[in-house]
Symmetry: C2
Subunit: 238 residues, 2 copies
Amino acid sequence: MGESSGRRGGRRAARNPLSRAEVIDAALRYVDLHGLDALTMRALATEMGVYPTALYWHTGTKAQLVAAVSARVLEDIVLPADHGMAWDEWLTEVARLCRQAMHRHPNLAPILGSQLVVSTTAVPFAERVVGVLERAGFSGRDLVEVYNAVVGFVLGWVTLELSSVPADVEEGWQKEYAAQLRTVNPNTFPALTRNLSLLENNAFLVRWDSGRDRPMDGSFETALELLLLGLHAKLTAQ
Amino acid sequence: MGESSGRRGGRRAARNPLSRAEVIDAALRYVDLHGLDALTMRALATEMGVYPTALYWHTGTKAQLVAAVSARVLEDIVLPADHGMAWDEWLTEVARLCRQAMHRHPNLAPILGSQLVVSTTAVPFAERVVGVLERAGFSGRDLVEVYNAVVGFVLGWVTLELSSVPADVEEGWQKEYAAQLRTVNPNTFPALTRNLSLLENNAFLVRWDSGRDRPMDGSFETALELLLLGLHAKLTAQ
DNA sequence: ACCTGAACACCGTTCAAGT
DNA sequence: ACCTGAACACCGTTCAAGT
């Protein structure tokens, strides 16, 4: 693999032009490696051995490129077949697959969670989930709201799990925060004090490591369990 | 109110110096008015009638300022008293209060949802929720995981609800997307086709307006109902 | 303590020009 | 069709200097 053949190292053969898919893939790799803030039209261009403005031809504006990248992440969720599988099993499995896909690209979670999906790539996903919920016994307005409850829970929860501190802030405040928690007044914070060893760095608002480094597997499974218990209860109630 | 007295309009009296709280409040107002992307150290500075570098003295780096602003939003959630109130009622009420607080500052939702809370202002919140869940009957590892399930659901779900399209992308693709949905193949997308009138622009992944403009009240209430049904079921199961 | 003012090393994006 | 190359109007941040 001589220098002359490849496209890496900022070098490019004069022939074989870029493609839209190539740019999107390169951007995803770049974000995975260097973080979302580091993604720059100029940086990505040099990485690809091309002038910054060449990217505009293929993927448009930076915002459009980022939207395309986030759509790409959803694309490689392959849903399991749902015939011969209980609806609740299937939903559980799909929820875990979504979480896995997001965990594969934790630096993109802020976009996944806060940006409206602009692509039709998610339509097959919606179809399958709606179909399975229909099969479970939901219909009409209930169906829509249950769908939103489920999808919003999964994507939203994992977004929060993967949230992290901006590179700038995280100097030494983690230790500081941990110390502050341990010296909290037991009279004004009795519940926290009782459960501190279990809570600290394991619970939302009382942790300092991202779910990217400290996955909250147990809590996700519990949340999923609660959701499915709720779905069953709602079905038997009506 | 003459021009000489105020601090608005890019003018400032030479006396009465800035304060940290003043900068944070101004930044929050600015984000509410002009969006998160528009928040710029330079823009905020001119808004406050001051040089950009003056802000650094009070709130540090831009990332630190944004973190402080997001902490401020959580701060003005005032939790109701929980004595003489069933635990499930209280949780429902608190969930709604959180959602309301986020809806008051929709432009900040991306930060709330994707950035680890770096301040101790959320500690009292955690104390109260943990305490109420203890009272409900949870303890030990279960308590922590149920806490995470609940908090992650509320904050995460609303983050997703408030997600929106970046200013750049939203040219005319909404109509285009709506049209594409309506011409979808009924054979490959039967469930979607059956429920299209209820789903379109109302369901995650199949909508083009943000929850900021089109609040998903019903779906949030359903999600909350499912969560509480789940909690009750889990309690009676053990 | 609090702010000015200049300066540095970046950005995204437009547009004409090349091939 | 696809890319170069220059140019424009911005950024965040550091740092010395003022008061």
